[in-house]
Symmetry: C2
């Protein structure tokens, strides 16, 4: 079974308050996106990676790649131009991958946020294994906060023990998830697995780690540096 | 209607990795707990504040109070010794307050985490107003993350638009919430409102702000400094 990854890095990073898009900000001496890509390149099996970026960032990526990756590593990475929404960006990456594998029905894809560089390789590995068995696997962590649900009849506390906070990677068989995206649903889905299960697909929860944070604010960068130092 | 507040600061703060309990760490030149207490002291009406601390921290608090608060402010603050659990600590504070008000049935209490110094006065004010109408009000923010629920039949994505993340203050009529705590339920409740609604009480959601964060890690302190600077 071929194994692929789709790394989505479409953000312009304006919330960081600096000119550099957040996926290119330095983290322990390397751009965030290099950390992320290296996790996938370092797995025991990785046949192709689609990296979805705004076209305006292609040059920047090529420079970064030359500086931090080997020619062999670079050869596995295929750039796709991102769309205006995450849905369009993911679909673009899936289309790219579908042309690279022998048969999409027998390939796996892990869809991962470019700004989650701290994901642990063993968690990614587990998500591939679970998705191969179940059809789809989403890396999640238990919800930490107390939750309350608001309905037309009022609010009530929620037993949070059944609730999980969704991260990435979200891992699927490539063919079925590509079909979901090609159907271009009008409804907005906040993650890939919710779209997938609308078609009846089963989704397994792959327990991950709180360290796999999404880097959004300048403070997140500081926390990420601390986590890397502590490893 | 008398208005009281119960500030719970029972933590030993070991996760901060320093010798000082986190509620006493300096934030923009003042201990965290002083910021928190000052929000409540600054409201248009505040009749009494129960401050629940481990008894070992009473001396430290008295020094801090002398340095940062006026005698008039100090006179409104009543120390209670915290228990080994949050439930015990809240109950101790409620008992203290019940002896300070004319009639607990006609007094309000806002129960608030000592390590949430960034709560906005207008949010606290709204929680008192909502609780006076409905019986109880919990300050919450919309859940940001995608959620997934795990059941014996598998997992499924959740429409997060109905879900709120619980913060504090959680505001009640003093008499009813004290009765809830006196019944000492065996079940563990992760927040005061969940305990309250077990007795049939109605709970309103009071929309708050993401800035009202709970300071738990050293990085949280940095974020809090940034938020204070930006105000």
């Amino acid at each position: 079974m071929q194994r692929t990854a789709l790394i989505v890095a479409g953000g312009s990073g304006t919330r960081m308050g600096v000119g550099i898009p957040k996926q290119f900000l330095p983290l322990s001496g390397k751009p965030v996106l290099v950390h992320t890509v290296k996790v996938f390149l370092g797995l025991p099996q990785m046949d192709a990676i689609a990296l979805v970026l705004p076209e305006a960032h292609f040059d920047r990526w090529n420079q970064v790649a030359k500086a931090h990756l080997s020619p062999d590593e670079i050869s596995k990475i295929h750039l796709s131009a991102g769309g205006t929404t995450r849905t369009e960006s993911v679909e673009a990456g899936l289309e790219t991958l579908s042309k690279l594998v022998e048969n999409p029905a027998f390939a796996m894809v892990a869809i991962h946020d470019g700004v989650r560089p701290l994901v642990q390789p063993e968690v990614v590995e587990q998500s591939y294994e679970l998705a191969a068995k179940v059809g789809a696997a989403v890396v999640c962590v238990p919800v930490k906060a107390s939750l309350r649900k608001n309905t037309e009849f009022g609010s009530h506390g929620i037993d949070r023990s059944q609730y999980w906070e969704v991260q990435t990677p979200q891992t699927f068989r490539l063919g079925p998830i590509l079909n979901c995206y090609r159907r271009r649903p009008e409804q907005v889905f906040t993650d890939d697995a919710s779209l997938y299960e609308e078609t009846g697909g089963k989704v397994a929860i792959c327990p991950g780690s709180y360290e796999n944070m999404k880097l959004t604010t300048p403070e997140d960068m500081l926390i990420a540096e601390q986590i890397l130092k502590s490893r």
